[in-house]
Assembly symmetry: C2
Homo-oligomer: 138 residues x 2
DNA sequence: AATAAGAATGCGAACTCTTCTCATTTACGT
DNA sequence: ACGTAAATGAGAAGAGTTCGCATTCTTATT
């Protein structure tokens, strides 16, 4: 088991944390709600509580292992940190999520923050649309 | 009373709708949650239900009278439609909200959507930071 | 390897924001 | 003014998330 990542993040290597991290790393879906993680673990025969999943994901976020997003639709969505910042474009029909990174937009944002007198801490950019697949279906 | 705006939007000119619209138009705060609107009306002596405020704001949104935002923090925030699209920059300390519009960013977003094969329907961009005022306070 | 002490867990209750249900009231064309 | 359909208010219900607490783990120390 790879408890070193957790140790490094200053977190005790408990079974639920290990399982959740492992799941995030091995899943091919990159953006998941707490509920998604919870259900997947239950189906794998793990015995975790939903509250624990929420707690752990929040800790992972604080530790920088995970990034939390607020897509439309209310619930939080989590994504394993990949080192490189990026924004998201999502399909309003099928829910597909794509990622992109645009240096020009990044620059402009910094510029705007400065102009407005803000010390920028963060930003979130979501583009919504209908993906190629969904456009075909009438 | 100005019921014409409501009529034009295809909505019956009921008292709660009139009051809510009037309040949105006369308030100097431009971004308000349903709860904010509800409380303000109660304090003005109006007798509205919170459910009605939610319903009406949702109808206003559908009618294009109002725009709904999902700032961080969970609840929806509403803003009177001003014709011209803009994005937001908000202070994470005091909650202040500023608006901006950047043609370059707009263009880039369209370009990205096209590249990724999406038919763009909408987008949301929020910059978070500490505003000038709040930077001064220690 | 056993132990002690504190941290983490699971469960259900609680909380927040929002929507729904439904009996009652209101707006508006006639 | 009246009738009808739509809108309202109140509280219940729903979704997502957090909290409280008794129990169970981790881990540093023997």
């Amino acid at each position: 088991m790879d408890s070193s990542e957790l140790k490094r993040a200053g977190l005790k290597a408990t079974l639920p944390r290990l399982k959740i991290l492992e799941f995030l790393e091995n899943s091919d879906v990159r953006h998941m709600s707490a509920e998604d993680v919870y259900k997947a673990l239950l189906e794998s025969g793990e015995d975790v509580g939903l509250a624990t999943v929420y707690r752990v994901l929040t800790q992972f976020e604080a530790a920088g292992l995970v990034v939390r997003h607020h897509f439309e639709g209310g619930q939080s969505v989590f994504e394993l940190e990949q080192g490189k910042h990026h924004d998201h474009i999502l399909c309003v029909k099928c829910g597909k999520v794509d990622e992109f990174m645009d240096e020009t937009i990044e620059e402009r944002q910094k510029k705007i923050a400065k102009e407005k007198g803000y010390a920028m801490t963060d930003h979130s950019l979501y583009i919504y649309g209908v993906c190629g697949e969904c456009q075909k279906e009438e």
